[in-house]
Amino acid sequence: MFSTEDSIVAIATPPGRGGIGVVRISGASSLRIAAGILDHPEPLRPRHATYTRIRRNGAGPSDEVIATYFPGPRSYTGEFVVEISAHGSPVVLRGILDRAVAAGARLAEPGEFTLRAFLNGKRDLVQAEAVADLIDAATPLQARVAFDQLEGTLTAQIGEIDRQLFDLIARLEASLDFPDEGYHFVEPAEIVRRIGCVVQTLERLLASAPRGRLIREGATVVVAGRPNVGKSSIFNRLVGAERAIVTDVAGTTRDLIAERVDVEGLAVTMVDTAGCREAGDRVEREGVMRAARAREVADVLLVIIDGSVPLMSEDERLLAETAARPRVVVVNKVDLPPARDTNPSGSHGEPDTAHPTTLVRVSARTGAGFEHLRDAIVAGLTGRESLRDPAMISNARHIALLEQARASLVAARASSEAGEAPEEILLADLQAARARFDEVVGTRTSEDVLRHIFERFCIGK
């Protein structure tokens, strides 16, 4: 997979039938391979859409196609690329693919086109990863964050931090190697100040990391409550479909039901669970246990309470149990006359100030209050941060590396403040931080990491 000398081919559009299907060929001999497929006597004009036909080959399928030729290095992969757009029939596309392979192309592996772009220096690692994120994006917000990274905003930020750091390192190295030049290349106070600046910039970048991860990876919201408070009805309203079976029989939902939805741009996995109660049959007991486990992994819990009846002991136990978790207490059935003591915030108030309980009143039947509920979910996930600010960094790999870099820099700052550690120790920390930056953008990356990154791509990209 790490070879780029041969030419590779793949169907770049999703499998199945479609209006248009695209076959992409990349490599030194892509033009020759295309010439063997296309019934087009003249050479393809660079960067022009050429209307032509597939050369008939015995009983094989033919089609009219648009072929576009991108000479390297001004192409996606940096190599010679030909893209053939045909009608989106799997048979036709398969036929083109077979002809390309017969002409000497090799079937591309997942992510190989982007890998070649990386190997050929067209994109750095951050950008290559952003391509995968962009393709995987399920919400507009995800797409936007991925696109920013593809454009190189993160690369540029890291580059700027790295430049500041490099300048400081160069000065410190100079003072070690030219001790008798009679002047300081950088004063001790200046060292502390400069490292401080770098740490600050890095921390600003990392501040958006939780938000970035949330946007990129999405979140899990678990609907919990005792039986028959309307969990599944609320779940169905939130996912916008009659996904869970709703009856008035307590204990209808037994297994976990999960559905992915876009909540204000966040990719949220909603999970409906069995109602919490003792006993039931063996199947239901298993369901209750699964519900408990689901509650543990939830990023936000929706604790549902039936507002039309007084609180029951199961309600109270659940409220107490979840008090320290990020949660939204949802009082359902507000379309019915309220029971007097259904305000749970009084008895099970705010023991944990980190996660103040939000109370939302809804009616799953009429849909009242769901706007507030969605807002409360987003607020619970983001800690009330605005999602409109761009998240610079979202990939867990980048975040982990930058956290390591930050730790090294903080150690360097501490030792230079104390004025104790010799400069070469300080430099060891600064160099370690730089090495992490190199790993993020891929100027220093092991083969294993590269393999891992490009494995998650789809074929044809």
Binding site: M1, F2, S3, T4, E5, D6, A28, F118, L119, N120, G121, E173, L176, D177, F178, P179, D180, E181, G182, A418, E420, A421, P422, E423, E424, I425, L427, A428, Q431, A432, G442, T443, R444, T445, S446, E447, L450
Partner: protein, 621 residues
Amino acid sequence: MRFDVIVVGAGHAGVEAAYAAARLGCSVGLCTLSRETVAHMPCNPAVGGTAKGHLVREIDALGGLMGRAIDATGIQFKLLNRSRGPAVWSPRAQADKQRYALWVTEALEREPNISWIFGRAGRIEVEHQRVVALAMEDGDRHECRALVITTGTFLNGLIHIGSEQQPAGRHGEPPSREMAISIRSFGFEMGRLKTGTPPRLHRDSIDFQRAASDGVFVEEPGDEQPVPFSFSTRAALRNQVRCWLLHTNDAVRDLVRGNIGSSPLYNGQIQGIGPRYCPSLEDKIMRFPDRERHQIYLEPEGLDVDDIYVNGFSMSLPREVQEKLVHALPGLESASILRPGYAVEYDFVQPTGLRSTLETHRVGRLFFAGQMNGTSGYEEAAAQGLMAGINASRAARGDGPFTLGRAEAYIGILVDDLITRGCLEPYRMFTSRAEHRLLLRIDNADLRLTPAGRRLGLIDEESWARFEARRERHARNLDTLNRTLVRTSRGERVAASMLLRRPGERLESLMQRGEVALDVDGVTRDLDLASIANEVKYEGYLKQEAARAERMRRQERRRIPEGFAFAQVPGLSREVVHWLSQIRPETLGQASRIPGVTPAAVAVLGVYLDRPAVARRLDQP
């Protein structure tokens, strides 16, 4: 005559090569123009300095000459970077240049395996792509099994003083032309470099007393307790001369600017590239116009000579301008010039044509070492000479190569940099070139290298016994620190090593308070203590560094077969294939350090090398 090894040139590279090969049991022919210039110091009469001092300690740890020679003949000693950490401490010494040369000559003469060949080396004779003999310009011919060339600045050397030009390798010595032609004939890539030296002044023409009391000269004292270069030095070293610091002034600046047109460096007469970090006076004034003044040191060249070396004042301006410049310096108004400064241009061989043994790729058993490989400095030359001498003797006897890694020694870094990156300007060692600097200290050079030297056969019984005792003492001292309980300021009792890890705690004060007793001896007491304290205090950093070094070693162990055709690897760009084929790295690690070879290309190469040979054949484009 027939020798196992012939060494051409008896400068700092040549003498180490000859000595090492002789100690390893080879018959050695040492070819030089005259006994007078053996181990000569044509420029600064000093040994060591940052990173260079490390090289000397390593040469000594491997049984070489330089450390012992400078300890025996040094006249002022100083440990540079003392205010910093032990990893960048580096000894430097003023040498008595005559005594230094004499000491080395006598050491060589005591070796029964070494024979002198006086004369001018002319031509390298090769059969079946392997060295067979050295032909002298006068027609003599000496057969050999291996040949080490260390011709320094002699290949087509050309000296410039103003518009005066004189073919010479060094002041007053004719250059090597036939040898230059012979080397070129094998197709080695060659280039031209330049270096320079300052004027020498007569000691008696300078009124040091008055200039010092006027405050224009500031004494640069040596260390009270000098740290020796050699692990074998036991007697305390003594400072016997005074060195002085002074500064250039506006008159110097104006003179240089006014006469810049007559500087061969600035009027196009010199094409060779000079060292950026050791700039000539012309460069200092012209390239750093903002700096008001530059440092100049006055350094005696020996106890029995009158020459004063004007460090920092190297130039190639005409004699009469040099005269005016010297007299413009405060305190030197009536100084007389014994020899003017000059610039010398010389051919060098691009060292990318060498293996990690310093044997050439093109001709078997032919080794190049020293300044001709594009380096500057006696220490860099000596280090290469030692490695070339060891490997020439091993090649002569059919033994495998001996190399040092980047995490083992500055010598390893030096050779690796040269053969993977080549030289665009004279190469000088710096501590910043070492990616595992914390591990490569002057205090542990023997722990790092002496066992290897012993295995080679370079360390005699006496030195080995001394080394073993010292290694044991070091381990015992560390053990003592781990086991001795001491009282903290808050009254707790902790191991001394734990206490030392806290900020502000110093080993010296613990010892002064009598809380810990360590076994450290006379001349190297300071160094040993610092080494122990450092190892305890920064244990975490050292462990991390060692782990990183081990990861790098794994890359170094992935060997690229001899004569490997890089063009067959699918996925390497033409440019990368070009550089790899040119430089012929021996390991994946070396490949990764070649400029222009991207990390991605290294990954491609790594994957390819791991594949079974069958798959290799199938994947032809």
